[in-house]
């Protein structure tokens, strides 16, 4: 058992070093989206050091960044795209909107807390949160993802 055990453990350690990021915009004002973009692309906060890479398709995703307060109009689309992401996945709610609805908390058009509908793992409050805060959130997400992979 121990050989298999060590094998899977070493595989997990290696696998954890390449989390791919996918961003779902659940009706956000794009403030957080711009911050998420800077975390990956701008040389200053290059998230690729952690092995992260933006991927275009939900099928390739490991860490899912959700921004925006999940407006009613787009709710079921987001749920459907979220279902298309293969397991083991980790969800990071970026910005206060997905966590609690932020400014739009009591609005009729917003299904405020995202984690009523989706299992969220890490919250990164802020409107928008600093790129470093997002990187910190992603680092915590990677730690959680290590157990699930």
């Amino acid at each position: 058992m121990t050989l298999l055990q060590t094998l899977t453990d070493s595989a997990r350690n290696l696998a954890v070093r390449s989390p791919w990021i996918y961003r779902i915009n659940a009706g956000s004002c794009n403030g957080c989206d711009v911050e998420c973009a800077t975390t990956a692309l701008i040389p200053r906060y290059d998230v690729e050091r952690l092995g992260c890479q933006y991927c275009g398709s939900p099928r390739h995703a490991d860490i899912v960044l959700i921004t925006g307060p999940l407006t009613a109009h787009i709710k079921d689309d987001v749920l459907r795209v979220f279902a298309e992401i293969p397991d083991p996945k980790v969800t990071v709610a970026v910005g206060v909107c997905p966590i609690s609805g932020g400014i739009f908390r009591e609005s009729y058009a917003v299904h405020a807390q995202v984690d009523q509908y989706l299992p969220v793992d890490v919250n990164v409050p802020g409107c928008p949160p600093r790129p470093q805060a997002i990187i910190e959130g992603v680092a915590q997400a990677i730690a959680i993802w290590r157990q699930r992979i």
Binding site: N123, R130, E136
Partner: protein, 167 residues
């Protein structure tokens, strides 16, 4: 062909990446980060509750005193509360390390109770908040302020009346 020059410069100067997760990160001086609350200087005027756009700050009366609640996960860090707080009880620090697991979602809050004190005049429960007399002629002397600190609003009105100044 200046992109070749840019490449050369990048290669020579080396990457300008901030080593954040593996090293400390620079924070700008006037960064509007996490909100901090100093209980002692809060006079319970509830101005911040009025002015908080996302409704992150809430007061409610409890038997021991006026409870102040502030939920970081709704706060949009606009800084209005700090601006309007007369006694700068609320202050935005530059701490942005607020990423947290979903477990402590409701843990990211400040819950402080401003204790009631018995009114020196009539023995009623009141907040020990210093009066803020505006437009009182002649202006209060410091020991008058100290003396009225522990009085309920009713006694303060009486004290003002005795002083003969229009409130």
């Amino acid at each position: 062909m200046n992109f070749l020059r840019i490449f050369a410069r990048n290669l020579l100067r080396g990457p300008s990446t901030v080593p954040f997760p593996f090293g400390p990160a620079w924070t700008p001086a006037r960064m509007r980060g996490r909100v901090q609350f100093k209980l002692s200087s809060c006079t319970g005027c509830r101005a911040c509750e009025q002015v908080c756009a996302p409704g992150a700050i809430r007061f409610d009366k409890t038997p021991e005193g006026l409870r102040f609640m502030m939920w970081h996960n709704t706060c949009v860090f606009c800084g209005m509360c700090e601006f309007y707080c007369p006694t700068d009880a609320i202050h935005q620090s530059d701490d942005w390390h607020m990423a947290h697991a979903v477990g402590e979602k409701y843990g990211m809050a400040i819950r402080e109770v401003i204790p009631y004190t018995a009114c020196t005049g009539c023995g009623m429960k009141t907040l020990a908040s210093a009066p803020n007399p505006i437009g009182v002629v002649p202006p209060f002397t410091p020991e008058e302020v100290e003396q009225q600190r522990n009085q309920c609003p009713a006694c303060r009105k009486k004290a003002l009346a005795e002083r003969g100044t229009p409130s």
